[in-house]
Point group: C3
Chain length 163, copies 3
């Protein structure tokens, strides 16, 4: 584990990240407090938040957002513009009118198992597990667990066929 | 009102913006000609266009785009990758084949009332009002007004239940 | 054809791009190995990959992603956050477990004909042709060819009416 990606690229902000060997991080990435496994590549305009764990040999494509609570196992594919969600009732302020702090919401975790693929523009809701080798279609909104090997698509995502 | 955010961060472009006290603007933001209320936070990879008015204590999350004609009241939550639209018939060029200019389209305004929340990946069409405290589900495409307190989801967005 | 846009803007990465006259490229754009026609404008947070051909007088709005295999004819409008796809079975690694290389997948091309418009948040799948003057609604997922002049919307996109 090192503290820098293996490539150089302009316009990146990287703070407190543990990198495995051979990680590539493109320009305009914003990574903080996360762990990125060996051989993973991270595209442009990607934000990965504190506490996220990304496995080895994953591909995180451009414009994607990985929030706190997300864990990707090895060899996961995250398409372009994929968004993860970790709260059920997003709000700017608590009932008191103060800006919400860490104690004002429940963190919903997301786990994406080995070799699963999330198509471009997919949204994955908090609390969901995507099974090993599953395929989430482009533009799908995943509101429930996806079984290993399943192929889902649509809003909300439903099974299309078994892989 | 000041002319700079309260925090510092690399790689921002900020031009002709009025900031309330305590506004936080993350890296890779592109703001111009807009007004941002006190205590609001603006995430990475966000663009806010000329004429936009954002209230106090809002949260604008990463990868969102606020176009001309958008007004957010106080304490509005805008999730990640939320897109606003302000024209009905987008086109690159006018019928003459020239690039469209300001006089070639009708600006459709969008108003989001106090304490409403827009889930990640939502698209809000021009001309729409989202009522106070309403919740727009992640990935929804909002084509019609959303009543105060309503919860909507889907493409196009429909009411799921009252909050 | 030149090798630089006609405007200046901070925080851009531009490598091996052929520009027509009068092309405007905003900040935070990432362009490489592509060709951009005269008079086209390219917004913030846009990535355009190697081999892409963009016609003249197009508008590519913020947060959009154009992958290898995309060809836009003249006067095409690409809304904000539009994503193109060029593979049917995205995956991080080949069956051998190695990161996928260029030989491990079939490139599916996308062609968008003259004066077509793609609404914000649309996803266009690989292999699709969008016909001349067609209009793709915001948030649509385009899985099949769109006829010239057609208007489509939804997930998956279906014809709403003829224009």
């Amino acid at each position: 584990m090192g503290i820098a990606p293996s490539n150089d690229a302009p316009f990146r902000t990287i703070d407190d990240v543990e990198f495995g060997d051979g990680v590539i991080v493109r320009s305009f990435a914003n990574l903080y407090g996360c762990r990125i496994g060996a051989g993973t590549t991270i595209g442009t305009f990607v934000e990965i938040q504190r506490g996220v764990v990304v496995g080895a040999r994953c591909k995180i494509q451009s414009h994607s957002f990985l929030c706190e609570g997300v864990e990707l196992e090895d060899e996961v594919f995250v398409g372009h513009g994929v968004l993860f969600v970790n709260d059920r009732y997003p709000a700017a302020t608590a009932a008191t009118g103060e800006l919400k702090g860490p104690e004002d919401w429940e963190l919903l975790r997301v786990r994406v198992a080995r070799r699963a693929s999330l198509g471009s523009g997919a949204v994955v809701m908090g609390g969901v597990t995507v099974g090993e080798g599953a395929l989430v279609g482009a533009g799908a909104v995943v509101t429930r667990d996806v079984a290993a090997g399943a192929v889902v698509a649509g809003v909300p995502a439903r099974a299309v066929r078994s892989a």
